[in-house]
Symmetry: C2
Subunit: 760 residues, 2 copies
């Protein structure tokens, strides 16, 4: 099935091998395995089958149930118990395992209150009552209440302003409505951008407090029947979360760049750049409706309306709100559980697999659905090893702590081992939440071929086709919808023209960030979803075993599928005769992105010029209702010319170098230099980094993908240039054109060198 | 202001005149008036100034208050009183006025009930309680209750199915969800397509009853604060209306094609094609929420969700609903008030102005806002005439009865006078509802230049620019929004490239239909709106003087503006030295539409082929959640080639003929043939008609614009071809390519003849 589409091109050495014929490294029964000789591919396939047979849905289920039985946030007794349980399991499965402890600043709530004054007084409950039929939800002792980690403290009283999703465009709209948040408290709904940006942008616009609520339009009854009838967030469900400024850097805010071990250099809390300045609190829509219904002020713009049964207004001069947040600013221990299986041939090449273990409350879906599958992989690999199988490279399995508050466990570990990782890590494979449905992935472009091959070898439990084909079918069907957005269209185009599954760009929001974006370790993030609905209770008390087994992944079939994909990625990366990178996708994708930048600049210029013409003609005034408070958009300078020549030249060169390398890798002249090439290419993602990092956030060093400063989780590609254009910083854009071109040239240099070694 | 944009091209003889210089018909101080000599334009401008000075906002206000004081639907005592009042006013103002009576089938409710059975029983109130502060809303004696005119009768009991807006795409989606409406009662929300299509399509899909409700997302609290706090539809507000199948033909269902005068041929009610077959009733969201909340069945698709505070489901096997509708099928009299001012030079050329007078209840906005302004025009023209002014052509002012149930008054009058109208009518200018804001208009393309000039001569009361410039500014600003839809983009492009205000295509929904679409009388429809919010109580008890003067047009400034535009159109059409048609816009617009058809065909082919490829690959099955009832879309044949050659040739020829005529009209060789040309061109819109009419609806004869069979009000351009492509009737499409091309060629012939006369 789907062979017509998929046989055309994978943009990798696999296909070159298939086309040219008789390669020494890749030809196995028509399905060449990237980086493997034909014989080795056959034995690898057999090993994978044995790996699969060691996976048990019921073991995943039992583990998830055990680990999600009690609240397990950072510093909780059950988090430590889970760490010790995980350690014991790894050891029992034959791994060389240990716990690494880091001590990090982790604030917890001391006192919180939120009240509405005026004619309709109300005190927010800030709590989530137990739900009948969900026994877990009644075991709340020790759970965090409504809380946003790393928010500021304060005791503030002011009128409210509703700022929609609280993103930059919302503040621009608010300004045009004539409403200012200076000295006010904002109420903002979850969605459209990362949580942490909401109070940060509110603070930058002068607000003195921030309430974040879950509108039923976004994950409540507007999406599906609420729990317990259905999966969606119920009236009193609220979303905890971190508001650490992770777009600047992740990890312990007091040890930026260093592992938070004993004796590490620590800055003062007041100097920490990533701690928020104003108090903030998350609430349910059951609480929020009281604050929103009588907020007054102008009617909210159409796109700001949620699903509460009244007309949304913006507020600004309505009744006052009183918000108090006081926190304990203690250090807390993180317990990263690290399990090692040493490589037989290249022990100093590391293949790393990780998932976090800490939840906000019970964390059944987030993160234990992924964590439990990862442990199943470790169990099965351990069993394989007991039958004599040994990986060529060293495998490391990691159960991270403290992901929720700020990727703490992974970041501190990556920072503590930074030099070693830069010289040894071949790949980092991450997972987090997992649900029934379609394989979704983000990846370094050099790993797209590996990911496609591994996904093409795993059978979808519901349909019987492989999970890659199912993912491609899904995006193609979505693309047929006349309302399909540009991102779906772009992914479908790539699926059609290059025959590859949709792979996203690496932003942030899980533990791959310190690896791929800080250190330059090629990374993949995987997870199933799209049919399960456990995300409806994201970060609430109701993310329980009961909810997950009804709405997330009943029977844990997708837990097994995740383990099959994760295990394959790890085994292939660990066993391949040559590191399973392919670079043609890097050149293709970056080439497309450079074209996008040119379009972005042209669109920016066109918009600025059109808007200016309309401003000069007073068109905005004529188009506005004079009975409403309102102002035209501010003048925007049209961008100057930016010389994309260096990027054009670098991408052209990279296309040629990547093509030559991928061909050479499929047909090495001998196996004399394979380990030299491995050693060389293991740093190839690092070529894409710049020690100076991105503007105003030097910790982020990858020039190809980063979480957007103004998206938080969402990726920006070629971020140095793209964000400079979006922010109208033209000199910076030109600077990062040069820096990015230089990085691409460094990769071309490395590939040319590898090609020479392979053709000797 | 805005001269840079607007000085470029009006696509009319005006501009040709300005460019070529020294025309005999059009050059007056840089602002040439279409169809006028320079001297005559100056005196016309002076007459218009006198006309304006005769307009009084307070007279409009007093008249609206008087006429909306009591329910005034067809057959009500106050409708007749209003007719007699209107007649008396016309006469008092010096017009030769009379009432024409038609007797039409007009059903009224005898008994209605709607109840929900099961665990949550409920009986619909079907009433609208008085609202504090709105004295009119307490004067409901004699008002129609919740009622849909021309619905069927019946006493039916069945489970409910929610079908969203009840449009064809909704039924396709429902089929894919595995839910059938056969033998069920449907509940459908207002919006997205004309009311009458909803029960019609429900019937065609096998439903036995239909409930139409107003979702708060569409005109309730989801749009604005409900009345009385704001203008939007309150909890118990419901929308009456007609469900006569007006896409087939408008007017009395028993006298299709004939005026319903005494002795007219009448068909039996059972043979009437436009009367609905199943019972139907309109309800408020206050009633509807009880029916929708417990409907059961699959969750509704995302785009089907309204603003009620629960998850929308589709139903199908939930509790039963019992619906009873019984009607009186009496004949009722219509009172059209007709006022004539005879033309001095060409009395047999008629310039007609109309607005309906009947409302559903009080009808303050719909229709008395427009009716009251129209009467103000008649008052001021009467005053002008008393000072010695006389139009060159005959002016007819009409106050139509029975528009609401089915354009009855205008259609019967047009049918009764069809031969005379075909040989005499030069233009029909319609209005209906009017609100504060922007001038909106639909027009025959040959009248776009006249409309632009008239609008360019009227000052907007809020901004001081002319109403044309304000309309252009509004569409240009909307076009700057990154989410602007294709219709806004198309209108903005025309505004930019041709310098003309946005003019819509003529669909249906008001009294111009019998003129432009049945008889081929060139027509214009005008009305202000976009800032006033009186539409929130459309067809409800709350469309009152109190509501209108708070939210519609406080101070009646836009009532005056409407009279200024309407009066100018009538005066210029009546006084021009040469009928004020311009044909370059016809050629330009039809040329664009032919290109649209080609794109539509290509898109249809592309979609069918892509969908078929995905069907063959089983992609829809792979992309679907197997735990949900669901089926793939049905196979669609890819369209064959359609030969657009005849249309290409006809539009090319028309472009040349129109250009030549417009140039000749600006510089006639002499004034010897002006009346001959007038006589010739008066029938030019009729060239665009076909006596065979459109497929399956011969009453609709205009081949350039029609209400869509599947949109109801919304226009379809080149409808014979376009609807055939949309319906995959390929032979019909090819047939109407030829018919439409022939119509355009007939117009070219006529223009060539006129050009010869003008250049002799």
């Amino acid at each position: 099935m789907r062979t017509k589409l998929l046989s055309t091109a994978l943009g990798s050495s696999l296909v070159l091998a298939a086309l040219i014929g008789a390669p020494s490294l890749a030809e196995a029964d028509g399905a060449a395995m990237l980086g493997f000789t034909a014989d080795h591919a056959a034995s690898e396939t057999a090993a994978e089958a044995r790996f699969d047979s060691g996976l048990s849905a019921s073991d995943i289920d039992a583990r998830l149930k055990l680990m999600s039985a009690l609240p397990n946030q950072v510093g909780s007794p059950h988090d430590k118990e889970n760490a010790e349980y995980t350690l014991a399991q790894f050891k029992a499965w034959g791994w060389d395992a240990h716990i690494e402890v880091f001590n990090v600043l982790y604030p917890t709530p001391k006192f919180e209150s939120l009240t509405l004054e005026g004619d309709h007084p109300f005190t927010a409950t800030l709590t989530e009552p137990p739900i009948p039929g969900d026994a877990s939800s009644a075991r709340q002792a020790g759970a965090l209440p409504a809380y946003l980690a790393y928010a500021g403290e304060g005791d503030v009283t002011a009128p409210l302003v509703y700022v929609n999703y609280g993103m930059p465009a919302d503040y621009a709209e608010l300004a045009r409505l004539g409403v200012d948040v200076k000295g006010k408290i904002v109420i903002v709904r979850y969605g459209a951008g990362w949580r942490g940006l909401k109070p940060k942008l509110a603070y930058e616009h002068g607000a003195i407090g921030c309430i974040i609520y879950s509108d039923p339009a976004d994950d409540g009854y507007g999406m599906a029947d609420p729990y317990p009838k259905g999966p969606a967030r119920p009236e009193r469900g609220l979303q905890r979360g971190s508001v650490l400024d992770m777009a600047i850097e992740s990890g312990d805010p007091l040890t930026p760049g260093y592992g938070a071990v004993e004796g590490a250099p620590r800055i003062a809390r007041a100097d920490a750049k990533t701690i928020l300045k104003i108090p903030a609190v998350p609430i349910s829509w059951g609480d929020a409706q009281h604050f929103l219904e009588h907020i007054g002020g102008p009617q909210a713009p159409a796109s700001w309306r949620g699903a509460l049964p009244f007309t949304y207004h913006v507020g600004g001069d309505g009744p006052k709100v009183h918000l108090v947040v006081q926190s304990n600013w203690d250090e807390k221990p993180l317990y990263d559980v690290i399990a090692v299986m040493k490589g037989a041939r290249e022990p100093d090449q590391w293949v790393i697999r990780g998932n976090h273990r800490d939840g906000w409350v019970f964390g059944a879906q987030d993160p234990l659905s992924g964590q439990s599958a990862l442990m199943e992989e470790a169990k099965s690999l351990g069993a394989l090893a007991k039958t004599g199988w040994r990986p060529a490279r060293t495998i490391i399995y990691a159960s991270w702590d403290g992901e929720e508050p700020g990727l703490l466990g992974s970041t501190e570990w990556a920072e503590a081992h930074d030099k070693e990782l830069k010289s040894k890590a071949v790949v980092y494979v991450n997972s987090d939440t997992n649900d029934r449905g379609f394989l979704g992935a983000e990846a370094s472009y050099s790993l797209e071929s590996l990911l496609n091959q591994a996904a093409g070898a795993v059978t979808d439990p519901e349909t019987g086709v492989d999970v890659r084909d199912r993912a491609i079918a899904a995006v193609e069907v979505r693309d047929l919808d006349p309302h399909a957005g540009p991102m779906v269209k772009a992914m479908a185009r790539v699926a059609r023209t290059e025959g590859v599954m949709p792979v996203g760009d690496m932003g942030s929001g899980s533990d791959y960030t310190p690896f791929v974006q800080h250190l330059g370790v090629a990374s993949i993030n995987i997870g199933f979803g799209g049919e399960g609905s456990s995300g409806g209770v994201y970060h609430s008390v109701y993310d329980t075993y009961e909810h997950y087994t009804r709405f997330g992944d009943p029977g844990m079939k997708y837990g097994v599928a995740l383990a099959e994909v994760g295990g394959r990625l790890i085994m292939r990366a660990a066993d391949a005769d040559l590191d399973p990178y392919a670079y043609t996708p890097v050149a293709q994708t970056v080439g497309r992105e450079v074209q996008e930048l040119k379009t972005l600049l042209a669109d920016t210029r066109n918009h600025a010029e059109t808007q200016d013409a309309l401003l000069k003609e007073d068109a905005f005034k004529l188009a506005a209702d004079p009975t409403k408070s309102w102002s035209p958009p501010p003048h925007a300078d049209a961008p100057p010319t930016i010389d994309f020549g260096p990027l054009d030249a670098a991408t052209q060169r990279l296309a040629a170098s990547a093509k030559a390398y991928d061909a050479a890798a499929a047909h090495p002249a001998s196996d004399a230099h394979l380990e030299d090439v491995d050693a060389l290419l293991q740093r190839s993602e690092q070529d894409l980094t710049d020690p100076a990092g991105l503007p105003n956030r030097p910790w982020y060093q990858n020039l190809i993908y980063a979480p957007g400063v103004l998206t938080g989780y969402g990726a920006k590609t070629l971020p140095g240039v793209r964000e400079a254009i979006e922010g109208a910083r033209w000199a910076e854009a030109q600077d990062y054109v040069a820096r990015t071109a230089k990085a691409l040239d460094a990769l071309s240099d490395r590939l040319d060198k590898a090609t020479r070694l392979l053709t000797q």
